[in-house]
Symmetry: C2
Subunit: 219 residues, 2 copies
DNA sequence: TGTACATCAGTGAACGCGCGTTCACTGATGTAC
DNA sequence: TGTACATCAGTGAACGCGCGTTCACTGATGTAC
């Protein structure tokens, strides 16, 4: 008696699983169209067809395009946050150069491991007119806060560094600029970029640590 | 005999001038809607009405929305480039700290003197799906080139600074980050921001000047 | 200067297209017995 | 296990709305004589 061959790839899905899969395909299609053709190209028809569904099926999963965008934005934020949280967990909290280098390295890799989501994050981070932009902004604010917290945990004394918040801003700016350069193909050698980034960040810290004025933030 | 009062504000415009004024109003309306409500809100009707015209009048001035956007993008780029060119002309090319400080100061002011255009530039600089984004990208590339040229003119020797291009990238990133902070209201004290920016940029230059690896750009 | 005509920025009306949205229906999946 | 019924993801068809686009027309401006 032969046992029928069960290919794991075509295992039958329950109705529940099939629906979840369709929904995920719609979300992914939304993100991909957003990256490839911009928000103007986002129509329920295109998204549905890109996900292998008919256009009205879009409404089985989402109330309207806004809801889908909202969910897509949440998904993007979650994916990047997840990889960054994972990255932070692996950090040593000592002040050695190698620990610092690893910290920047895992951050870079976190962004680069999610290139599509990172593209969306970078592109729409200043566009408050779309849910994607608002999520991106909130996420980057969180990351900046995390960076400040990490600095404190690593023993960078806030009392001796009145420019800590500004240091965080500049470090974020340089890190994202490096990510942009790599994603755009302008920068290629990750190791050298990482080294330059660490050196620059350390230098900025030094420059702002001995800074007399305090952080120029509005209260 | 009384000379009729001629208010200079309501001087009659020639047909040519009136048309040019309408066109300019349409361009400005396009930019303002872009900043306030995003590209999704850009319709010929809204733009025309915001410019005080009926909707079909849009077509007296532009073939379609794409052409108007193209012109708007060009206008934005031109305005910012203009103020920055003006700013560069006033630069002394010595290496003193005050000259450096003034250089960054005029650059900051150039962006801040055109807040609406700067907002558009910053927001859409990574969106290649729209003409605005492509212009923004090209403009920033030019500015980066100018920065490198200025550094060389100021005697920052390229031979001793293999990371000059990367230095330009990081300096651009920190400058734009400062502009963003001020426009968003997170940073308030221009003088302190400027000081921090100059210190940080000098520090990064130092860090990358003594850098062994050369610029990690792809050829 | 005055007159007759030409030009043309701007408009209201009309139309078509694409998109969003709804709905009755299908057929596969799930469930009760 | 088999049968009868319920559920529901997905669909084709239909419809309305808003936007883009065109066009004949108006009336103010410009020009020739």
């Amino acid at each position: 008696m032969e046992i029928p061959f069960m290919s794991p790839g075509v295992a039958k899905l329950s109705r529940r699983e099939a629906k979840a899969l369709s929904r995920q395909r719609l979300i992914d299609a939304t993100i991909e169209i957003l990256v490839g053709e911009g928000p103007g190209a986002l129509t329920t028809g295109r998204v549905a067809r890109a996900a292998g569904l008919s256009q009205p099926s879009f409404y089985v999963h989402f109330r309207d395009m806004d809801e889908a965008l909202e969910v897509a934005a949440q998904t993007i934020g979650e994916r990047i946050r997840q990889t960054l949280v994972e990255a932070r967990r692996r950090l040593k909290t000592d002040r050695s150069r190698s620990a610092l280098s690893e910290a920047f390295g895992v951050a870079l890799d976190a962004f680069l491991s999610q290139p599509v989501c990172t593209q969306v994050l970078l592109r729409y981070r200043r566009d408050e007119t779309t849910p994607v932009g608002r999520y991106a902004q909130a996420l980057l604010e969180t990351l900046r806060g995390d960076l400040v917290a990490d600095c404190r945990a690593m023993g960078l004394d806030a009392a001796r560094a009145p420019g800590l918040e500004l240091f965080a801003e500049y470090t974020m700016a340089m890190t994202l600029s490096t990510v942009e350069g790599i994603l755009d193909g302008r920068l290629s050698d990750r190791a050298r970029c990482l080294d330059a980034l660490v050196r620059s960040s350390v230098a900025v810290y030094g420059a702002l640590q001995s800074w007399p004025g305090g952080t120029p933030h509005s209260r």
